[in-house]
């Protein structure tokens, strides 16, 4: 019974994946990709990884879909888009990809015994940190350096997006996200939903210490609400040169680095927390990170500056 349900799920995923590649229109491909994100979120739930399911639901279905659909909107429709090259090449590449897939499948079918796991190592440190959500413990204590570097990647990504602005527009506002035709319904949604969404975002961040949830999930939800407001034309994207905005981008990573450096003096070294104070420090870092993630994700979707800065 249970395996039959999983088979159905896999079948649906493969349908969405194949259609993502084969759809002629690029917008159809993006819709298929959004469907795939929803399905994957259910798969993560099935694999009992609730934290990941939350991330996939917020990022996979929401944020990535928005970026891709917005790109579609700015490209002219052309017939040739979905056209794949000749059949002979398709077969050759298909065989090559099938071989790669078969190799990966072989790895899955011959797993090492016993299965390797770092869970005991994490369990040994759960007490010291004082949080009950193992994933948050890994993200902010056990492998905190990874998380810090990932924040740096996010900031670098944003700088990369901003750097694509023509010199003339540097520091100006990104192109507006508003819908092509104004809609009263959309305005209504953008007035009603954000207060609720912000509450849920804060809840996810706060809940992340002891239950599934956390900075990414909460931050993404906050970013989504901001984007909704921008799409309904209730607020333009801010000028990228605004100092307050740049401070918000930097506050999370900066606090994280400061806490890391403080570890040299107050604990065992970089990114180690003084015993007994781990939980409050981690929660403070999480709050700052969530703010930064929300702003960074929102600005990455908004894109590079497309207008001269106001005088």
């Amino acid at each position: 019974m249970s395996l039959a349900v999983d088979l159905v799920m896999v079948l649906l995923i493969l349908t969405a994946a194949v259609w993502t590649i084969l759809a002629r229109d690029r917008r159809d491909a993006v819709i298929a990709f959004i469907v795939l994100g929803l399905l994957l979120s259910l798969v993560w739930m099935r694999l009992l990884a609730v934290d990941v399911a939350l991330t996939e639901a917020a990022v996979g279905g929401g944020a990535t879909g928005l970026v891709l659909l917005r790109a579609c909107a700015r490209l002219l429709p052309v017939e040739a888009d979905g056209a794949l090259p000749g059949l002979r090449l398709q077969v050759a590449v298909g065989v090559l990809c099938a071989v790669v897939g078969a190799c990966l499948a072989a790895v899955i079918l011959s797993p090492p015994e016993p299965a390797p796991s770092l869970a005991p190592a994490v369990a040994a440190h759960m007490e010291d940190v004082g949080l009950k959500n193992p994933v948050t413990v890994v993200l902010l204590a056990y492998r905190a350096l990874d998380t810090l570097l990932e924040k740096v990647v996010l900031v670098l990504g944003l700088i990369g997006v901003w750097a694509l602005a023509p010199d003339l527009f540097w520091g100006g506002r990104p192109a507006s996200l508003r819908a092509a035709v104004p809609s009263g319904t959309l305005t209504f949604l953008a007035r009603v939903l954000p207060p609720i969404g912000v509450l849920i975002g804060i809840y996810l961040v706060w809940n992340g210490a002891d239950h599934p949830g956390g900075t990414f999930q909460g931050g993404t939800v906050l970013a989504a609400m901001w984007l909704l407001v921008m799409m309904a034309d209730l607020g333009d994207p801010p000028e990228t040169r605004a100092l307050r905005l740049r401070r918000l981008v930097a506050v999370g990573p900066a606090l994280f680095i400061a806490v890391g450096l403080a570890g040299f003096g107050m604990a065992d070294g970089f990114l180690s927390y003084p015993p007994g104070y781990a939980k409050p420090i981690i929660v403070a870092v999480e709050v700052a990170l969530a703010l930064s993630i929300a702003v960074i994700l929102g600005l990455m979707v908004a894109g590079p500056a497309a207008k001269e800065p106001d005088q």
Binding site: P77, V181, S183, T185, L186, F188, L189, V192, I196
Partner: protein
């Protein structure tokens, strides 16, 4: 009492499943975009609504029950807005080339 509540859950959730069936059949069988949209909202409103209603007696605590109601309310809001937007989109011919 517990038996009665269980019975209520089974009836309500089955009702929800029926409306999901109705939504899917409508989405697949109805002739044009706007009628299909009508079928879709049945799943949003009544499908999820009845399932949430049926699950309420089974909730372990009051917070879960409140979350269930919030989920339904959010889907109402989101689903109704999405339907409206999709309908406007289809009417303007955004669907066709």
């Amino acid at each position: 009492m517990s038996l009665l509540l269980d019975l209520f859950t089974i009836v309500a959730v089955s009702g929800g499943l029926f409306f999901f069936l109705a939504g899917t059949v409508g989405l697949l069988r109805f002739p044009d975009t706007l009628t299909r949209l009508h079928a879709l909202t049945k799943a949003d409103n009544l499908g999820l609504g009845l399932i949430v209603l049926g699950l309420l007696p089974q909730c372990p605590d009051i917070v879960s029950a409140l979350k269930l109601v919030a989920i339904w309310a959010l889907v109402q809001l989101g689903g109704a807005t999405a339907s409206q937007l999709i309908a406007e989109f289809a009417r303007r011919g955004g669907g066709e080339r």
